[in-house]
């Protein structure tokens, strides 16, 4: 078995602001998908785009 098969995945959503370019990393929520309009930018209140959804593995 691989190392990853024993580790627990934490899934994150990366949102990128279309105005100021700020990247925000948050926990994945159901109905998120890549290239969906995200939440408002915390810095400039501009609209964001989900550019990535990925898993990071932490050893259990």
């Amino acid at each position: 078995m691989s190392e990853d098969s024993k580790a627990k995945p934490f899934v994150y959503t990366i949102e990128e602001c279309k105005e100021c370019g700020l990247k925000t990393k948050r926990t994945f929520k159901i109905n998120d998908f890549v290239y969906k309009i995200g939440e408002l930018c915390s810095k400039c209140k501009g609209s964001t785009l989900i550019t990535m959804i990925y898993a990071e593995y932490m050893k259990a």
């Binding site: 078995m1 998120d32 998908f33």
Partner: protein, 377 residues
């Protein structure tokens, strides 16, 4: 205690034949040797059988988990209907491959069979909840496919295990033991994949659609084949045709048919094709590494690859491939950070192929191959 003392103490274990009372020592040596000679194969069979039985139990647990998750998802989309019978029937669903003794024309037959299968799966899922949206339906299809494969792996392994026990044939059991680590790894990957499909998260195999999807943002999309879309763009005097399965539903589309239609039916003159896909890495290679090559980078049963190769050969179009390496587990479970972060490297690689291998005025078809679950465009 010196060496001579030790030798004297061990002497009774190695009788010389001069001592008439040492006959029992011969028994201690000869009896186990005789038993091992006579029953070695049975002892080995017993040990291997126990090992295989443990693995069969693990596969059974994973099969049950897959079925349970499929039932739970079916219940979440149609809470008032009991889907147990329909899901159980689906798990036993099979596809008979066309006869290959006369291979001429087999690809058309394969394509036909796979289309019927695909339509049947979609119809079954539609029957579960007629008002289900496209994304939920695609998730259900993916979950059912994974649960069916888990069911099949368990059934086939159990068959050979029971055959081995029934016929007392070591060869069934030993062969099972040899391939068991790979089967368990695949089954484990499928079990984890079901959770990813339920959540609608992008999988490692979705890296190709994710890269091309980014290039398609804010551009008009046209459906050219079933669940497959194309956009146009301009780059350094070249026309780019961008193709991927339509997301964020979990689909691989029909890139083979889409390429045929685009070039043969719609008459688009393509000078080069660039295909981006996930590919299985070898042990020791890093996840998320990219490699460039030539040829149609597309997996599956071979129908789409055949169609693309046919069209490319007919029109003399060079086909370039860029692959992102990953394991089977990475490919069907939620996309790893290393894979997602390869997007910039791959995009750079695509444009360097365009710059080096094409000239101004050319048309380039870029195909993002893979399951586009959780990835729009």
């Amino acid at each position: 205690m010196n060496l001579t003392d030790i030798q004297l103490q061990l002497n009774p274990l190695f009788p010389t034949g001069n001592d008439p009372n040492s006959w029992w020592m011969y028994l201690i040596w000869i009896l186990p040797t005789f038993i091992i000679m006579m029953y070695f194969q049975r002892i080995q069979m017993w040990m291997v059988s126990r090992d295989v039985a443990r693995s069969v139990t693990k596969l059974k647990v994973m099969r049950e988990q897959g079925r349970k998750e499929a039932l739970e998802y079916a219940k979440s989309i149609s809470p008032n209907v009991d889907q147990t019978e329909r899901v159980d029937r689906f798990l036993e669903y099979f596809t008979i491959m066309p006869v290959d003794m006369d291979p001429s024309g087999i690809m058309k037959k394969l394509q036909h069979i796979m289309r019927i299968r695909d339509d049947r799966v979609k119809a079954e899922v539609k029957a579960m909840a007629p008002n289900m949206d496209v994304i939920s339906a695609s998730k259900m299809e993916n979950i059912l496919e994974a649960a069916t494969i888990l069911h099949l792996i368990y059934k086939v392994v159990r068959h050979f295990y029971l055959m081995g026990k029934k016929t007392s044939s070591m060869f069934f059991i030993i062969q099972l033991q040899m391939i068991m680590p790979i089967l368990l790894q695949e089954a484990e990957a499928l079990t984890k994949a079901i959770g990813t499909f339920r959540a609608g998260q992008p999988i490692g195999d979705g890296i190709g659609p994710m890269i091309v999807g980014k290039m398609m943002l804010n551009k008009e999309k046209r459906t050219v084949a079933k669940e497959t879309v194309v956009s146009e763009d301009q780059y350094s005097g070249r026309t780019l045709y961008l193709m991927k399965a339509e997301g964020p539903a979990g689909s691989v589309g029909e890139p083979g048919t889409a390429v045929e239609k685009l070039i043969d039916e719609m008459g688009v003159k393509i000078n080069s094709v660039i295909m981006i896909d996930a590919a299985l890495k070898l042990e020791g290679e890093k996840t998320g590494e990219l490699a460039e090559g030539v040829g149609a980078a597309i997996g599956g049963i071979g129908v789409d690859r055949f169609q693309i190769e046919e069209v490319a050969t007919k029109h003399g179009i060079p086909v370039y491939a860029i692959i992102v390496k990953q394991s089977i587990l990475d490919a069907i479970t939620v996309m790893k950070k290393e894979i997602a972060e390869s997007i910039e490297k791959v995009t750079k690689s695509i444009f360097s192929v365009i710059d080096e291998k094409t000239k101004e005025g050319d048309s380039v078809l870029i195909i993002g191959v893979g399951n586009t679950l959780g990835v729009a465009q």
